[in-house]
Symmetry: D2
């Protein structure tokens, strides 16, 4: 059994990891921390009466793997003793995601406390970096928008099919993505009938998407990313728009995606119906509700052959495949387990 | 392995059973039926790309247990060949819930096709009828409001603490409870900012609640029940108001509930905070979100000692503990498995 | 033109009064206060670019009428100079609602700063106290649940038709009712798929409902009230359950309500369809969405003749007919205007 | 008084026109039609008890202006007798929006019944075509996405600032935009926690946006448009992405917009805060909730100077400024009224 700890489990991301790890057949959860005295079942009522307890951070000892779910900068401050104690580290935050220190410090507006760990870390998109993850000691779990957009664009980028300077991505996020810090914009009366644009240019996730896709392209990729919160709790949709640099036919592009993800259990390519007049009833589309609370990413696409544009839709859960659960997939790979272990449950319908 | 079939899996209830049975360690799902040619993954996008298939009803053969998820009256029409073929039957519908044929026909406004099965059936509230369920061949799975309200009121009834003529129950339901038949009232623009009263008196579930609680009371119990849809997808809250017939103190009543459900894994009694000025932050309340997509029922209560009223809140998921999942709990009991098998996963937070 | 001021307009209640008063043909808004330097159009984006400005409380001078939208206790502290300056006062808060000082201080857990004003104030349910309101200098605007429940029960109480000890009221509220103080329970991810019970017994509004209905009954009335937040922004539904003390037939009770409110423009009695099998499509029910952002109250009822219960549904907007807008109706009456003035706009569909 | 008729008022668009016209100080509503016998107050409960009645289409006689709210193609079939009877016509549908008949018939997949009317019609974006509207007899009211996107892009287009081949627009719509035809995708349990992509390329509104912006550019403009439904009832957000063809600084672009819309009452330009770390609390953003049920359009923008992209956010209500209410603004212009008449009410907060 892999002995696992969760450093920071009072928030949404840490508790999502805890929920799934507690039922993972190859894992024993040794501890989950909170600085507060409030019982876990008051924070996370899904644990009510189930005997789950927080420990204080001071009681957290190194074990086989430690998941960090902390505000930006704090994993870098706190992970070293665990690494020294022999733990592998999976960071749900942004501390280890960028390869360039000055860029990181500019984007996150603070100095970095442990750049050696950042340099050692592997960026945890399993579908692109499986071999390095298997050998890694430190995983930089990707940002939620980043996972969605990287998986959406990787096939096109890998085939040099699109204009790398003119990629537009709109990211729509459920409010779980904002975490549990209170803010008037997330106060229910304000957002219930609303859509909230935020970080409308130069979003932090742009940098890691650009970094990863540039590596794949062996060329500089520019991501023009904007984000909104929509009034759902879970789930992310990125809408990825690209201009093809050579003739692009719908059937070929769809075939490329099906090939690219043929062997990937957690990425499903959906053939969006072509006839715009068809009822939605019983037709396949990538729906965030279908992947909420799971480790799946559903991708669908279409090509406007008249206007020469490719649009790729990619849905996942910001704390599922876009967060805690892909962290567990990374753990499975790092420890040599079948990567589906503990993660192959179905989504929920209706969500 | 228990060989199971699901007769009627295109709707929400049948697909919920399928979702959980496919991961149940003691079950092999032999078939799930739909009359339509539409693939299951178009109805239920949570199954997308997972290799799950419908069969036609004509291909459904008897197996160890068959779950029926059909409109009222159709299980009675279709279950007999399966019973004759040696199958146990669990009906998610209302066909076998009432003990009095003329009452059934009056409430459901049709004649009953198989009253012998109704007479044989055991009403499937596990916490009250565990021994009979263990020996049963046919289970009448309770209505969603019924499960919530019966579990909420059973401790008070069993102790003869309340006025049996003056029980008031308000039931609030998520829209999954309405099924997938289209209706303007469930059309998103109509209900998104709305609360929909319906069946405001003489709700069909009243009869089964009265029947079961009268048996428990050894006396006639009257349930004054009203229902509303609220704009959430999953989950039910019943608010059960009672007038105590002798002195009722909060601590005693809470103690009674904790005792009554001490050994029940799926029913948790929550000690609602007494101080009305306390922030809700991090305080225990029965929340439907905490039990959505699970087999749990959370119960909380308070006593207005000044005005002499007991109020009991009971939350569960209408197609979870109030439907498909309690059906699986019943199956576990019928086949001698630990009743938690396949059902002990955690709820989701945030839902 | 009536010169009006709004003391406290950064919150939801004060801004709702401002929204409607700015278009009221008989009113000139002299000022609206906020202690903050934030422009009103950042708080309330519906005023964006419309030239509306806050003033500091210190700049607020007496005028013909002042609406107070302050936390409990603060109107009593601040209203006296305005009264002395010749202003009439309408308090949206609870400061002047109760007739018994020791009860007020016990319920609100503080000492009262100006009981003389409380004694002078008229409780502002227009339909019951129109004549006193016309002569009043101070109005205690009713609580939102209180308005809904008092209007629902007044006809039955006035005819001595029900058991005064056994009235049960469930109140469901949109989240606007919680105001704009941030609280984790109102954080969008927590409540989006949830129902939040709170103040489950001994709710503060119970006391004013009991006070008003006892006056009407000339007898002590007990209100057993419980409340929940549901995930809509605006609107309140109270479900009022009563046990008739003599034979009650549906047609008679409905006729009583239609008579009682025959001349009331803002209270509409809806004849809920009797056939429980009818589709909801195009059928009349009291729907909160229909009265949101208006001064209307819609009431519907049914009688369970078999079990001997009357249930009355009453919907209004917590900051409309249950708050700021009934305050404007009170103002119209106080100043001798047609009480519909500025308030006779239609609700919005779909809301 | 302008005598107005509404041809087709059982749907959301026609009833929204009716709601506002009934309170318009310069209008007398002569009739509003429905083919059904169902009373209007059962369709639109906001009219409950207000004495509003449908007439049959056969009873509709010509008057000064007739608003048509019909499925595509039917205005062309039904408007001629009203034109001949001296009525001006405002079509909320798509019948008269395109200038090219073969394009119309290809896009809408039917033959056009009255192309002479289409040729005569003026495209009703008031801010661009005010003079022609003043002289028009027939108005083609723009599509909801079209109004939002045209208003968002017109300043950039008019200054030749952007690459006309590479404009990307994501349109997010509340479900009112789908009308009242029932569809499983709009059934509440399906969409409540979901985002629904649809018409992912070659959306019908693309054609009218391209037509109008090409006229403005005096050059061919290509609009790459994709749309989603999000689970709100009212409101549209378009996110308009452009690549500048010469140096674009944020301050200049914002200044351009403020100048362009300086004299427009119904279009407000919002200066989105630049600091991405600022809390959303009390900061200006274009929010759909702020313009829901109004005739306002709020526009905000930002420039990614590092990556050379302009993004323009534009919010309006699909049946307000994007539908029925801009139709009334058009009517005001056609009849020489101040165009704000009957439309200058405030939005609602919280919506």
């Amino acid at each position: 059994m892999i002995k696992a700890g969760i450093y920071g489990a009072s928030g949404y991301m840490g508790s999502e990891a805890l929920r799934v790890l507690l039922k993972h057949p190859g894992v024993s959860v040794e501890w989950a921390t909170s600085r507060s005295d409030t019982p876990i079942e008051h924070y996370h009522k899904n644990f009510y009466g189930r005997g789950v307890r927080f420990v204080k951070p001071s009681e957290a000892a190194p074990c086989d793997v430690v998941f960090f779910a902390l505000p930006t900068g704090l994993t870098a401050e706190h992970c070293r003793p665990f690494l020294n104690g022999g733990s592998k580290v999976i960071d749900f935050g942004a501390d280890f995601r960028l390869n360039d220190k000055s860029e990181w410090e500019s984007v996150y507006k603070k100095s970095h406390a442990d750049w050696a760990s950042a340099q050692e870390a592997v960026y945890g998109v399993c579908e692109l970096h499986r071999d390095e993850i298997a050998k890694a000691r430190i995983i930089a779990n990707p940002g939620c928008f980043s996972s969605s957009s990287i998986l959406a664009l990787a096939p096109l980028i890998s085939e040099n099919l699109i204009d790398l300077d003119k990629i537009i991505v709109d990211g729509l996020s459920g409010t779980v993505g904002a975490g549990d810090d209170l803010d008037l914009a997330l106060h229910h009366p304000e957002i219930d009938n609303n859509i909230l644009p935020y970080n409308v240019v130069d979003h932090r996730h742009s940098y890691e998407i650009e970094q990863e896709l540039s590596l794949l392209a062996e060329n500089k990729v520019t991501i023009n990313f904007s984000s909104c919160y929509v009034p759902i709790s879970r789930g992310i949709l990125t809408i990825n728009h690209c201009f093809p640099v050579r003739n692009a036919e719908r059937g070929d592009i769809l075939g490329l995606y099906k090939d690219f993800y043929r062997d990937e259990f957690f990425v499903k390519v959906i053939d969006i119906p072509k006839d715009e007049n068809a009822s939605w009833n019983y037709l396949p589309y990538p729906w965030v509700a279908a992947v909420s609370a799971t480790n799946f990413c559903h991708i669908g696409l279409d090509v406007d052959e008249k206007r020469n544009r490719i649009v790729v839709y990619s849905v996942l859960d910001s704390i599922g495949k876009g967060g805690a659960l892909v962290g567990i997939q990374n753990m499975n790979i790092m420890f040599g387990l079948d990567e589906k272990t503990g993660l192959d449950f179905f989504g929920i319908h209706p969500y």
